[in-house]
């Protein structure tokens, strides 16, 4: 069996909110990501997806920190390293070289006073070893990368960020992310602020690039359609925990957690009759004040008394595939009856 490129074990991330108070934004998160695989991280706003994404590169804001767990990458040279223990300079060298991130707000991802070309120069120069790249080499590399995302390199390299459209900037950021051929690419809602046509073409390009370059991808999104299209594996997050994970087919066709079921029910199908759409009643809980037991129980129509008391752990349902197969954190995950019904609809 092949080895994962990234394996996250019992990762918890807390934000300090006051002198003695803190909020846990991600709790006991574990998953494996294999080379070339693409995993979608889905969930409502505020469920901890972005925090988890930032945590994977140790990019948390000042008040956030990894409180426990490990994030182990298998590096290009074959060594494994837990980045929670990396010193500053090692971490700097690790970032972008081994794992890169494409951010939600591509609009603001570039320094407004620097030309796009200088962003490529900065990035490549920060990661060179003994041998210095020449100007021409840098331009050649940037040109190659920008052509990969189908932009006109000459014009783009000379432009300032404000002279480019949101879609162009998102593509440039993807090109920039691939500059050092990272093995893992984290994408945080890369298409959220874009129109539907631009979304399409970016998704297609991501597909193409992944096939060509073979990097693994973690895709943070609340758009299930996008997840279904790009992901080999899906993990659903709720209130800081992964509550269901499995292959895309398993999670989308046989969802076993009532929350995943609710998410799928809320998406209208493109083809066929419009079934009754439903939204999940209530709103996500505040991370500072989580309900007892399963944090989804107040919104769950299948909740029983036991749900109020026990925090369900991720239990393997079908041990098919990598990373423990299909697992859900629900006491009633065994009641297949309702999930099957939903599958027929979705």
């Amino acid at each position: 069996m092949r080895e994962p490129i990234l394996s996250v074990r019992d990762l918890s991330i807390v934000y300090r909110t006051g002198r003695r108070t803190s909020v846990t934004a991600a709790q006991d998160v574990s998953f494996d990501l294999y080379p070339g695989q693409s995993m979608a991280l889905v969930g409502e706003s505020g469920c901890g997806k972005t925090t988890l994404g930032l945590g994977l590169l140790r990019l948390l804001p000042r008040l956030g920190q990894v409180s426990k767990g490990e994030i182990v990458y298998r590096l290009k040279d074959g060594m494994s390293v837990d980045i929670t223990g990396l010193a500053k300079e090692e971490l700097r060298r690790f970032r972008w070289h081994e794992a890169a991130m494409v951010f939600q707000g591509a609009m603001n991802s570039f320094n407004p006073v620097l030309r796009i070309g200088e962003h490529f120069t900065d990035t490549l120069r920060s990661h060179e070893g003994e041998k210095r790249r020449t100007r021409a080499e840098i331009t050649a590399r940037a040109t190659e990368l920008l052509s990969m995302v189908r932009l006109e390199p000459e014009r783009v390299l000379k432009s300032f960020p404000h002279e480019l459209s949101g879609g162009m900037k998102q593509r440039i950021l993807i090109a920039l992310a691939l500059a050092l051929e990272p093995q893992v690419l984290v994408l945080d809602e890369p298409t959220t602020a874009l129109d539907i046509l631009t979304q399409r073409s970016i998704v297609e390009q991501l597909h193409e690039l992944r096939e060509r370059l073979g990097f693994a991808m973690i895709f943070i999104t609340h758009d299930l359609g996008l997840a279904a299209e790009l992901a080999d594996r899906v993990a659903t997050m709720y209130a800081g925990r992964i509550i269901e994970k499995g292959s895309a087919e398993d999670v989308f066709y046989e969802p076993r957690h009532p929350y995943t079921v609710g998410l799928i029910k809320a998406v209208p199908p493109v083809i066929g009759d419009l079934p009754e759409l439903s939204s999940i009643a209530g709103s996500p809980p505040s991370l500072a004040d989580l309900p007892s037991g399963c944090s989804f129980h107040p919104r769950c129509e299948w909740a029983v008394d036991a749900c109020r008391e026990t925090v369900p752990s991720l239990t393997v349902l079908t041990p098919r595939g990598e990373d423990g197969g299909h697992a859900a954190a629900c006491l009633r995950a065994g009641d297949i009856e309702y999930t099957r019904k939903v599958v027929a609809r979705a």
Partner: protein, 366 residues
């Protein structure tokens, strides 16, 4: 667009040299830099006018002042007045519009008139004797304040809510609240009288007795030594504001996405602090330099008084006291020009630094 250039007919003759020159002149006239320059000239004109009329609205005129001085030597008031009118090169009794015309027509040709108190000495000469000193002390003080202020401000933002930040914030707010002449007085009383670490009697003035002004090490060293007090006064008085403003600007930039992205890209901390954080944080502060300069030059009137530093401030004070119309107007023209000029430069630099506000000439003329 306000000015329309008619399109040349299809069979127009090749443009003559004169035409080409005309087109270049029009381009310059319409350019952003020149538009700002014209506005600056207007500001100087308005301020000088205000000075002109205010002086004449004040009770007493140069003749009164001079006659008063002469009569102290035992001359009868009537005689003293006649003598005063005789020795003055201008007649304060002339109609206002005539005085106005005389002064401003002279000003256009660069003639600022002659001093009333130092009879016959051209105003430009009077001002040139003190201007370099004020520019030197104010310039050095403001430069030090800005440099250190930006540095401390960044440190405060990077370490916000730490002890360093709290301590520096407190110091900055206190310094920002003290008027500069009080700082000068404090420096002198605490440093000289109480602690005795500085010898104020030796340091007062612009340079020591017996030192020959000129371009030699002795003189430069001595000027710097005498400049310590005014320069520190200006620096201490303005540094607090710069620290606080820079802290706010840096804090904002630190929260911007491109800084997180830069960290993700594995750039070095130094590169991020200078080019990503520093440069963007400084941008909104550039236009404030000119405003700060104006405030400091205004404050120099009292500081120079306290430190017995003979500069523009002291000169304008004595000009007001002696009703020396021309000197005061001259001082106003020069100081306003300095501020307007700095503002103009700051504007142009801002345009260079921030590509988003780089105004193209086409946009500027519409």
């Amino acid at each position: 667009m306000s000015v329309k250039t008619p399109a040349p007919p299809a069979s127009a003759p090749p443009p003559t040299r004169l035409r080409r020159a005309g087109r270049v002149a029009l381009r310059i006239w319409r350019s952003y830099a020149f538009r700002r320059f014209r506005r600056g000239v207007l500001v100087v004109f308005i301020v000088t006018n205000a000075g002109f009329f205010l002086m004449r609205a004040m009770p007493g005129d140069p003749v009164d002042v001079l006659a008063g001085q002469i009569s102290q030597r035992g001359v009868s008031p009537v005689e003293a007045r006649a003598l005063a009118i005789q020795s003055l090169a201008f007649d304060p009794g002339a109609p206002l519009w005539e005085q106005w015309w005389d002064y401003f027509s002279g000003l256009v040709t660069g003639d600022m008139g002659t001093s009333v108190t130092q009879v016959g000495v051209p105003v430009s000469e009077v001002i040139m004797k003190v201007l370099p000193w004020t520019l030197f002390s104010v310039g050095a003080g403001v430069t030090i304040a800005i440099t250190l202020g930006l540095l401390f401000g960044m440190v405060m933002a990077y370490r916000r809510n730490s002890r360093v930040d709290h301590a520096l914030s407190l110091i900055a707010s206190i310094l920002g609240a003290i008027p500069n002449y009080l700082i000068a007085i404090t420096l002198v009383t605490v440093g000289s009288t109480l602690l005795g670490v500085i010898n104020f009697l030796d340091m007062r003035g612009r340079y020591g007795q017996g030192v020959q002004p000129g371009f030699n090490l002795d003189f430069i060293g001595d000027a710097l030594y005498h400049g310590i007090l005014p320069i520190s006064t200006y620096a201490i008085a303005t540094i607090g504001t710069w620290m606080l403003v820079m802290k706010a600007a840096t804090t904002e930039v630190l929260g911007d996405d491109y800084v997180t992205v830069a960290r993700a890209r594995g750039l070095t901390d130094k590169r991020i602090a200078l080019t990503y954080v520093g440069r963007n944080a400084v941008l909104p502060l550039v236009p404030q330099v000119a405003i700060a300069l104006a405030t400091v030059i205004g404050g120099s009137i009292l500081v120079e008084q306290v430190l017995a530093y003979e500069g523009l401030g002291l000169l304008s004070l004595s000009a007001v006291n002696n009703r020396d119309y021309f000197v005061l107007q001259g001082v106003l023209v020069i100081t306003t020009s300095c501020v307007v000029f700095t503002n103009w430069i700051a504007d142009l630099i801002y345009g260079r630094l921030d590509p988003r506000v780089r105004v193209s000439d086409v946009e500027a003329s519409s």
